[in-house]
Symmetry: D2
Subunit: 367 residues, 4 copies
Amino acid sequence: MSSSFGKLFTITTWGESHGPAIGVVVDGCPPRLPLSAEEIQVELDRRRPGQSDIVTPRKEDDKVQILSGVFEGHTTGTPISMLVPNADQRPGAYSEMKDAFRPSHADFAYQSKYGIRDHRGGGRSSARETVGRVAAGAIAKKILALGTPAKPVVIRAFVTRIHDISVPESSLAELPTLSEIEANAVRCPHAETASRMIERIKQVRSEGDSVGGVIECRVHGLPAGLGEPVFDRLHADLGKAMLSLPAVKGFELGSGFAGTFLRGSEHNDLFEMRDGVVHTTTNRSGGIQGGISNGEDVVIRVAFKPTATILRPQKTVDIHGQETELMGKGRHDPCVLPRAVPIVEAMAALVLVDHWMRQRSQCEFRF
Amino acid sequence: MSSSFGKLFTITTWGESHGPAIGVVVDGCPPRLPLSAEEIQVELDRRRPGQSDIVTPRKEDDKVQILSGVFEGHTTGTPISMLVPNADQRPGAYSEMKDAFRPSHADFAYQSKYGIRDHRGGGRSSARETVGRVAAGAIAKKILALGTPAKPVVIRAFVTRIHDISVPESSLAELPTLSEIEANAVRCPHAETASRMIERIKQVRSEGDSVGGVIECRVHGLPAGLGEPVFDRLHADLGKAMLSLPAVKGFELGSGFAGTFLRGSEHNDLFEMRDGVVHTTTNRSGGIQGGISNGEDVVIRVAFKPTATILRPQKTVDIHGQETELMGKGRHDPCVLPRAVPIVEAMAALVLVDHWMRQRSQCEFRF
Amino acid sequence: MSSSFGKLFTITTWGESHGPAIGVVVDGCPPRLPLSAEEIQVELDRRRPGQSDIVTPRKEDDKVQILSGVFEGHTTGTPISMLVPNADQRPGAYSEMKDAFRPSHADFAYQSKYGIRDHRGGGRSSARETVGRVAAGAIAKKILALGTPAKPVVIRAFVTRIHDISVPESSLAELPTLSEIEANAVRCPHAETASRMIERIKQVRSEGDSVGGVIECRVHGLPAGLGEPVFDRLHADLGKAMLSLPAVKGFELGSGFAGTFLRGSEHNDLFEMRDGVVHTTTNRSGGIQGGISNGEDVVIRVAFKPTATILRPQKTVDIHGQETELMGKGRHDPCVLPRAVPIVEAMAALVLVDHWMRQRSQCEFRF
Amino acid sequence: MSSSFGKLFTITTWGESHGPAIGVVVDGCPPRLPLSAEEIQVELDRRRPGQSDIVTPRKEDDKVQILSGVFEGHTTGTPISMLVPNADQRPGAYSEMKDAFRPSHADFAYQSKYGIRDHRGGGRSSARETVGRVAAGAIAKKILALGTPAKPVVIRAFVTRIHDISVPESSLAELPTLSEIEANAVRCPHAETASRMIERIKQVRSEGDSVGGVIECRVHGLPAGLGEPVFDRLHADLGKAMLSLPAVKGFELGSGFAGTFLRGSEHNDLFEMRDGVVHTTTNRSGGIQGGISNGEDVVIRVAFKPTATILRPQKTVDIHGQETELMGKGRHDPCVLPRAVPIVEAMAALVLVDHWMRQRSQCEFRF
């Protein structure tokens, strides 16, 4: 079950980077939801290779097929199986990875665990696995947009830092619009900063190097009451979702690590009434208190390390225990964050739909 | 199942802060493990109130009873039920919390979710719930110490920062010993820093205020191969475990957020042979690659916010939607970190035993 | 997790026959349900020893304590921990079971699996474990009675056969009332048959022997739509629930094994309209089609073997591999069915509430 | 998760009868198992339509493709995705099922639950869904054959009754061989009885009618110690597995319902030593005691109702609440048992591998 995620809205991903295809099964989707392959494709196009000049130039159309669970344009409540063929397979391109362990990749760990691995392009550990997550997340996003009693739930992720280039905090007072985010290749809603980020990425790529950074994700319109203490706190499940993504090294909610430099009297969010609704005057809690949403915007941040593959020679060890040197080659992302934005959104959507279904199942009984 | 954690070594905690008792059921414990209540008690004593002059002076013995699953001093493989009576109940002391929502506490969120809540001392959202986790974690720690084929797995958590007072990084080159950590009330292995931390905690307490900080946890001796990609990556489950603790706002693995300021060429951990074993020259990966342990020390850090309860008047809203003011009182921790150290260790141990059992179940077949 | 049951309404039982106590944790109970220990006790009193002259004369009050999850007479949505002290412990009474394996009991299998066992009274394999199930089932029954939008769901189990003494089929055309069932010690709603059953049980007991039989359980008022194909079909989960009870050897739905002697043209349930509602003219489907309730009464039957403990010498083997003879003694039920009736009801209720919550979580979205 | 089965060796099936394809994802398979599509195909060929003159003449090759999880002829420990295209789609052939509910089928129940259904050929409720189970079961059978420390575990299912034609009990003293079972179209190991069964099936088919019967399944070579009390008893999980199959109405273990006519003194299995190993002199326990295998052959029986589709007019109701008549047509199995034999074996194998992995994870620690 380690390739399944979600308790009620459950996805199971499968596939290796260079196998014939990659895919996902979504189990537990509510019935009667209007759904087409085109809607899924929109999100896949946001993550696919070759979409701009700062990501990998690999050629993958990533065209999704829906094989089950949708009938006459609506979900039926049965499992939705989606498949994306792997078009750009160049098995030969990875022969150097067959024996030598790439530094800071999963090769050695997989070999240690399983005693065998599909080395081609990283096999199962490749970020290509996230294709299935994004396809499933597209369904979750649609449920959040349509299925609420009140207003649509909007999930918006965006890049706030690349290497040491950060957006000015003041520019994020308002929730960025989708068009602001999609306006540039790096998916940073602050245009001027985005230009500098893009320049930096191109520069490190030209040096055969890579960079990382931080993605922020906000959820607007979420009703209070989602989250399942004590273990399945909403941010604990969001954290697990994000930490299960390749290259992620850290996660924080609301004030996060920075909040630990404040005193309680500076950090607490006071309650007040606004338009007849309980609100907090500040949002250091990040929209979640005690593991349950409180109606404010959910605010989380995810740290992505610099891409492990660099086009430079690096010392390493091979499968026979011999020290050797490995020269990275191929067509890699010098920075994973631009393409990770839709993946972060997908994971957030999956967690929220799952918790929404859990909340309904337990708490809406009337006695 | 939101009060259960772990897939194979599963704990289920129950109990409210001011109910008659609090407890845990551990299901899936390997049989034939020598186990006594005294061993559990050692860990509970590390988390109990009143243990020093910088924690809450509440009087709780926290004496554990084992009600099942242990026979003639050994586990039998059946569920181990443990119970701790709540001794120091003062229901009257919390009457002001009945109607008004405490700022940055879970009161409002619980009320929104369930439409009812046990307000006494925070009820289920109280950190008192972690008593069960620590009791269960004591068993997990013993399994890790005894059950390995090779050497004992050692888990060691300690405070690295309180407010803005940090241990010097150089002082953490070696894994701190238990006695270094337990040598002072704040559980920081660097004595000089510990003194300053304690002073700071006393000072903010005298001002009716509170502080937070960071706990680091290291795991030494863990074999390579633990962790279950793609979703149950070892650090994803560790992250969820920590984020499910009260007051936690952030989690990071290895280089964490700081690592995003490095380039790939600076960040990558190169492989080398040492004593016939594959090792990395550095450990920015934090002992986990691709979600699987690689044999290096696991290194994680957890951010705890300043205690939400402060002994000052704060604006808030009551259950009837009226704005009001609430004056914190009672006997609270001005800083949760000293008592959180054994809790972090417990959660880490629970995750590791669970993953160890999962690894055995799948990967040790011989064909 | 093998001591947990249910996906959303989850119970975890713990305890051995001769430990200090036995209990259960119920996680996922809807909040705001009125609940008292007295209501739980009513069901426990139906299963407790010593209630009539055809069951074991052991003295157990089985007084339940609620330790969490209930506040001011209502459930709070947090785990409900219930505990029943084991009063009548006579460890010495079981010394002969320490080494010798009782025929057709679980002794040998437990020893083979765990390499250790609590032999006292069967330890964890004792039917005393069902105390927790009945306590949890009492809550589930109350939810079914109160929580429906339309009418209460009524669960009624009763004995239809003891040894070769069966109730006349015609007498079961109507759903038996609770008072008809509780009118006699054997819990058979047909008074004349009940007398003969009681006589048979007394007779075999006087011969140091035992008998088994069949319990039928019907659920009336269940709405159509409960059940989760393809694996969690409603009758598959009911079957697992019943087969997890001690002494159960068979399970059937509706026409069951007898239905296999019919042709399709004889067996099919035709649909018709009655009072504006779709009904079937017959109910060989047992109220479930394709794993989903269809609105007719659910009808299941459970086969219980003759009690394994008999007061006669039997050949067996001891823990050292020596053949020996074991003489059953102690205070045992010569027939488990009378006390199993409330247990069967409890398990059915647990499955139904769980499936009801699952149905709500997925299928009640409006797009 | 209702389309997933198994805790550690987990399968997730997807697909509708008349969608583009049908498939399964197997998660948790041990790595390094030699595996080819041809081995899977052998089992699929045993269940496919058109294999003999007593089953449906539909033309389906049921050619399986392995899309992931196998590399250079060995499993890698990652999810194994298998897909079978649906070749013989005739959507028009089912137009009469669009509105009218077929008696004793799942149509009405699905419509009640989901408010929508794929009516073509029964959609998700079609027995075609079992293609994925058989493909996954083929892997489980191979693990059982190769993976044991001692001897191969052999699973053998066969038809013991069709309608009222039973095999003589004496003929089943020995475990039937695979060639005895596969020697005839009905998969009954007693040749003379098989002939009469085949004749009966042909006769009822010629009358537009259908029949059911009983399949027995035995497991030989299973070590003692598999099964997870209290809820995941080995036979409880076997029972759930079988009851989750289309058309199954009953399940029994060992002596089953018949055993309830015996007294304890007649029913108990006495222990004895044979060749230095603990055995029982009889096997009314069916190889499982207290929910744990005891080393004897596991013996279970499954009741299949007569096929619901018959080629006769039947009264029913349509989706608009109008009474109507439906005339079955198409190419259906007049008796599902011959093709259900490999499905029963597959489900048994899946349960056993899952429990074997669970047993290893918990009970093989040495302290």
